[in-house]
């Protein structure tokens, strides 16, 4: 049948590619999590020892929790900052909407590493912020707590990942037909009521999706903690990365990674649930 052939011709190559280079690698990684690193030698025998280590060793679970907490906190902050911006572009951007959105995208595309590095340069003892404050006489000694701390990591995350939330939220808002707002107005609702009962609920998919994206990217990140976190600002991503680097314990690293994924999935699901509860679809109870 010609239709079947057309479908197969078009779906098989990309699908096969992903299976071979994405899904199978995940399977292999999972396999690694059940193997064991024994004195520098990889033993390919099934064992749950790695997962037990994750839970029993004092270091992993607290770090997982900390990373999730930072992820949620940073994500909420980016939402707080990014949502009004998305709202502005969508409802007050007028003819310049595309350009305004492009500006946001621009910040995302100019090298992630560089943007983290900028924070290093800004927050350091000899950095821009400190030298600026000293230059204007607000302080005499550099503030040493700025860099290499949890707050540095948090702040950098917020600044860097806000655009990641603006886009999905904007996209959901763009789908809100203007006629819905006019209808609401026509029925006598004030702008505030319209926002609460029409715009906000309808922007839900963007809030959920964007929040999820930001959370996953932040919670699992190792670049920012490494560059601006120092010893205090360590996160689980860094631990996983070192297991695949100098610490050289791939099975353990893999187990930690999957534990992290599981935790992320749970948090992600809760996030979707919470947002759905808090933002009823238009028509909530009176």
């Amino acid at each position: 049948m010609r239709r079947t052939r057309a479908i197969l011709v078009n779906t098989l190559p990309p699908l096969a590619f992903l299976i071979v280079f994405f899904f199978l690698p995940l399977v292999v990684l999972l396999l690694y999590s059940f193997w064991r690193m024994d004195a520098g030698v990889l033993r390919q025998q099934f064992t749950l020892a790695n997962y037990l280590d994750v839970f029993r060793e004092p270091v992993y679970v607290p770090l997982l929790i900390k990373s999730v907490v930072i992820g949620i906190g940073a994500m909420l902050a980016t939402l707080a900052i990014g949502y009004p911006l998305a709202y502005f572009i969508r409802f007050h951007g007028g003819r310049h909407r595309n350009a305004l959105l492009m500006l946001v995208i621009l910040t995302m595309l100019s090298s992630y590493l560089v943007r983290v590095y900028a924070w290093k340069a800004i927050l350091g003892n000899n950095g821009i912020l400190n030298s600026f404050l000293m230059h204007v006489g607000l302080i005499e000694e550099p503030l040493t707590f700025l860099l290499y701390s949890n707050s540095a990591v948090l702040f950098a995350f917020i600044q860097i990942f806000t655009p990641f939330i603006v886009l999905p939220v904007y996209s959901a808002m763009a789908n809100i037909d203007d006629s819905l707002l006019e209808a609401s107005r026509d029925l006598g609702a004030s702008p505030l009521t319209t926002f609460l009962r029409v715009t906000l609920p309808l922007s839900k998919p963007g809030v959920i999706g964007g929040g999820l994206l930001a959370f996953i990217l932040i919670a699992g990140d190792f670049v920012t903690p490494t560059l601006v976190g120092g010893v205090d600002g360590i996160m689980i991503g860094k631990t996983i990365q070192s297991q695949f680097g100098f610490a050289y314990n791939w099975p353990l690293g893999s187990a930690v990674a999957f534990s992290m994924l599981a935790l992320m999935a749970v948090v992600g699901g809760l996030w979707a649930l919470v947002v759905n509860l808090l933002l009823p679809t238009a028509g909530g109870e009176r």
Partner: protein, 266 residues
């Protein structure tokens, strides 16, 4: 005629605009700082900036490993773009034009790489290549880049394909064109702008990609990796210069891209 609605909206506009300005400043100021200090004569990023120099830009040209990493990034990005765009467009066509069992699953599979943190994708591919005994190199990097950029291509091209009447393709067939000819003379010209836009997006994403690349690369370096090692060694000013160039280049790419991909919706 000032109805309360207009009044409220007008009142809301001013603070919102002010907020937006602040938000944009918030988003942009690190990049601005970097560009500013790339011209700074002093080696340290201290305020206020002292003197003006193009030395650091010159340093870029004098560093062969840096130049090599740029070349590598260009090669990887180009090849990844070709691969990703071709595979992604094929998937987009199948997903938007046909109904078949398991379509939802295939669609989800195509978008899956986005759902995973780059860290996990990176270590997964690393262990995979190791397990298969495959040598890590620029080739493995290209493969990895195709994987993580596919969802973007699929999304962008599907959006365009759903935008025009599929009857147009039937019309081409009706007039005697073979399916291939219909694709080349009708479908492709119509989706070309979106495909071009997707290509630019892939190129930019690939050029900047660090996390996955970090794990799957061999002995060479791409630009982000080179920057990373420079950061670890603390060679500040040249990084500012490199970073500024990247910022300017991505700006240009995005500006070109806006001509092809309408992001703000209809």
């Amino acid at each position: 005629m000032r109805t309360p609605w207009h009044l409220w909206r007008g009142l809301a506009r001013a603070p919102l605009t002010a907020y937006a300005l602040l938000a944009y400043a918030f988003l942009f100021f690190p990049s601005v700082v970097i560009i500013l200090f790339s011209f700074n004569q002093s080696k340290v990023t201290v305020w206020p900036p002292r003197g003006f120099t193009l030395d650091w830009y010159g340093e870029i040209l004098r560093d062969p490993t840096l130049l090599e990493s740029i070349a590598n990034s260009l090669i990887v990005a180009s090849l990844a773009t070709i691969g990703s765009v071709i595979l992604g467009t094929m998937a987009a066509i199948a997903l938007s034009r046909y109904y078949f069992r398991g379509k939802r699953l295939v669609y989800a599979a195509m978008l899956a790489p986005i759902a995973l943190p780059g860290l996990v994708t990176g270590i997964a591919m690393l262990s995979y290549f190791e397990y298969l005994g495959l040598q890590r190199s620029l080739a493995t990097v290209i493969l990895a880049h195709i994987v993580f950029t596919l969802p973007f291509v699929v999304t962008i091209v599907i959006a365009r394909l759903s935008d025009f009447d599929p009857a147009v393709e039937e019309a081409a067939l009706d007039l005697g064109a073979s399916p291939l000819r219909s694709f080349l003379t009708v479908t492709l010209p119509i989706i070309a702008p979106s495909v071009a836009g997707a290509a630019l997006v892939v190129f930019a994403l690939s050029f900047d990609e660090f996390i996955i690349t970090f794990f799957v690369i061999g002995n060479q370096s791409t630009l982000p990796l080179k920057i990373w090692s420079m950061m670890r060694l603390g060679i500040a000013p040249t990084i500012n210069a490199v970073a500024s160039i990247i910022i300017v280049l991505s700006t240009i790419l995005v500006l070109i891209g806006t001509r092809f991909v309408r992001v703000a919706g209809r």
